[in-house]
């Protein structure tokens, strides 16, 4: 459970982007080694970084040239020499442009150099897949980084989680890929105001308890999975919804314990099907809790297909409540 549900904690109502903005401000106030680099970050196109240059100065808040690989690498070098950069890669598909630095430098330098390097850096990337932006601006690339040892991966699915996980990420001594889901940007909830509100990595949130099916949901799939669970409740199907919140490290204990209880597993994941987070979760559950599974598990994902532009072609393309509910019913009907 997130601390946001604890009534004893002082909170304020924020949307997802405002929570991210607040996390950055708090961490930059707390630690002057935290810097912010990114395209248009002084103006702040999405509203998470604008005017931070006025508060923290243009030495620490820097709008970069359109050189994703170059400034990702500069961030890594700064992290290796005493700073804690937050790199705003803006749109998630731009991580491909910086892939060499992310994989060959950020992920590998500490290991290759026998532990000499400490690389405290956060790469923020917004997944715009809900906005009819076409194939170049609609990516959900987090599975690539689950396959890249040396990085940690966060996929916050609520404003409070976005704040708490980002603050933890900034204080972490490792390189972190932080994927922000645009389909959640307008979501609002009570977010703890404490500057020490931290959500640890590797700790899943059980968003709803249930007894018939374990439904693990990733990023923007979380609210859609909760909607599906409500629909299914009317049919007498009790669904446990789990948000892992971070994919590296991944809270296997919570998922495995739930599967042991329900005997059924569905994973809703807005990434493409093959080698998705859903694939990894199914594989690991099959390896480690096979005897608990009463029926074959199921993935509800985006198909292995590029993202089209026209809204008409996007109907049912991503995991929505209906597709997720259909997946759960299929598993339950199986036995």
């Amino acid at each position: 459970m997130t601390a946001a549900t604890d009534t004893a904690v002082e909170t304020k109502r924020l949307n997802y982007l405002a929570a991210i903005r607040e996390a950055q401000i708090e961490e930059m106030e707390r630690d002057e080694s935290v810097i912010l680099l990114g395209e248009d970050c002084e103006v702040g196109v999405f509203g998470t970084t604008d005017k931070l240059d006025e508060q923290f100065g243009t030495n620490r808040v820097r709008t970069t040239p359109v050189s994703e690989n170059g400034f990702a690498g500069a961030g890594i070098g700064a992290a290796m020499t005493g700073l804690r950069p937050i790199i705003d890669l803006t749109i998630a598909a731009f991580v491909y442009v910086s892939m060499d630095q992310l994989v060959s430098q950020a992920a590998k330098n500490r290991y290759m150099f026998g532990g000499q390097a400490r690389i405290p850096i956060v790469f923020r990337a917004a997944m715009l897949y809900g906005g009819n932006a076409g194939a170049h601006h609609s990516d959900r690339p987090y599975p690539l980084f689950m396959n890249t040892p040396g990085l940690k991966v966060a996929v916050p699915a609520s404003p409070a989680d976005a704040k708490g996980l980002l603050k933890t990420a900034v204080r972490d001594d490792n390189p972190i890929m932080f994927f922000e889901d645009q389909t959640l940007w307008s979501q609002r909830e009570e977010v703890p105001t404490s500057s020490e509100f931290l959500i640890p990595f590797g700790q899943a949130a059980v968003k709803r308890e249930g007894s018939d099916v374990t439904l693990v949901a990733i990023a923007g799939s979380v609210p859609r999975a909760l909607k599906a669970a409500k629909l299914l409740e009317r049919d007498g199907i009790s669904v446990e919804v789990i948000d892992p919140r971070t994919l590296v490290p991944l809270d296997w204990d919570t998922i495995l314990a739930s599967v042991e209880k329900t005997g059924r597993l569905v994973v809703a994941d807005p990434a493409h099907l093959s080698c998705s987070a859903a694939s990894e979760i199914l594989a690991t559950v099959a390896e480690r809790a096979f005897s608990s599974l009463r029926v074959p598990p199921l993935r509800v994902t985006t198909p292995d297909m590029n993202v089209p532009f026209a809204p008409s072609m996007l109907v049912g393309f991503y995991p929505d409540p209906d597709r997720i509910a259909a997946g759960v019913r299929k598993v339950v009907d199986h036995g």
Binding site: S33, I35, N59, R60, R62, T64, P65, S67, N69, G70, F71, A72, G73, A74, G75, I76, G77, A78, A79, M80, T81, G82, L83, D100, Q101, S104, Q105, N109, R110, Y111, M112, F113, G114, G115, Q116, A117, R118, P120, P149, G150, K152, D172, D173, N174, F201, G202, V248, P249, L250, D251, W252
Partner: protein, 329 residues
């Protein structure tokens, strides 16, 4: 004339690089060094001339052909040779090997087996120095081949627009594996690109450490004083093959070209200068060689006596907070 001790130290470090590479080649053939190695033979003046212009607390990043850079920066040969030999006493505990040496204790932030990939990291070290308000500088070694990489362009532009204390030190050895710089770069000298980034660019004789030192020092002093980045190009030559053990089936360069450069061996060039200037006698020069050879044999013997890292060590050093992640996995 420059400080005598500095001139002698440059010769000593060039000899170390030469000897480490020579012995590494032999140990590789004997099976005591696994994998492949890329030697700096013939390029020692570029490594040492450049690093001689740096302070202990300045940063460097290297390349795939980079045994010489940490030596130039002052890293002891024991840890480097042990690393090449895959020992737990290596600078990277056996996790890096020939293409990924690093010695953070002397400001060597590591080599990169991906061509050009270390250059943005050096820019980040320069950015860090500027933000932290120190007067450290960062020097990125790269080759003529890396000059064709987008990462190098992005790094140079970024350093220039932010006036960062960075020296882009191009070791132009004229060959990127089998392609001549004349065929892979639109300009024959990489320093010619300086004006495109509004930064000074200069090319010097890269087979003599003194002009490399002087040009680098000028760039370093400018960077420390807030004058921004520079390109310093050491014109040198790769006298050996790209990598030991890499079979190249077709001739791609003239023996006469190799011979010409072999005739200007940097160790001979600088050695002759030291004798001519009365800094060292011939006998003292020979003693220096002997000392370096003894030092290297001691490093090899120590590495031979050291433990191989156990298989379990492969699972260390991935994350700074390993226990948490290991438990979760």
């Amino acid at each position: 004339m420059h400080d005598k001790d500095l001139l002698v130290e440059m010769q000593r470090r060039m000899l170390r690089i030469r000897r480490l590479d020579d012995r590494a080649r032999e140990l590789n053939l004997q099976g005591e060094i696994a994998g492949t190695i890329h030697t700096s033979t013939g390029q020692e003046a570029a490594c040492v001339g450049a690093t001689a212009a740096l302070r202990d607390d300045d940063y460097i990043t290297g390349t795939h052909r980079s045994h010489g850079h940490p030596i130039g920066k002052g890293s002891p040969v024991d840890g480097l040779m042990a690393e090449l030999m895959g020992k737990s006493t290596g600078v990277c505990k056996g996790k890096g090997g020939s293409m990924h040496l690093a010695d953070f204790s002397v400001g060597s932030l590591g080599e990169s087996g991906i061509v050009g990939s270390g250059v943005p990291v050096a820019v980040g070290a320069g950015l860090s120095a500027k933000i932290r308000g120190t007067d450290q500088v960062a020097l990125a070694f790269f080759g003529d081949g890396a000059a064709a990489q987008g990462a190098v362009h992005e790094a140079m532009n970024l350093a220039a627009v932010w006036d960062l204390p960075v020296i882009f030190l191009c070791e132009n050895n004229h060959w990127a594996v089998t392609i001549s710089v004349c065929d892979h770069s639109a300009v024959p000298e990489i320093s010619q690109r300086g004006p495109g980034y509004a930064m000074p660019g200069v090319s010097v004789d890269g087979n003599d450490p003194v002009p490399v030192y002087e040009a680098t020092l000028e760039a370093v002093e400018r960077a420390r004083a807030g004058g921004g980045p520079s390109i310093v190009e050491a014109l040198t030559y790769r006298v050996q093959e790209h990598a030991q053990g890499l079979p190249i089936s077709r001739e791609y360069r003239e023996q006469a070209e190799i011979d010409e450069w072999l005739g200007r061996d940097p160790i001979d060039v600088h050695g002759a200068s030291l004798v001519a200037a009365g800094v060292l006698t011939e006998t003292e020069l020979s003693q220096l060689v002997e000392e370096v050879h003894e030092e290297m044999e001691a490093a090899i013997e120590a590495a031979r006596a050291a433990e191989d890292p156990p298989p379990a060590a492969a699972f260390e050093d991935l994350y700074a907070d390993e226990p948490d992640v290991a438990v979760a996995r």
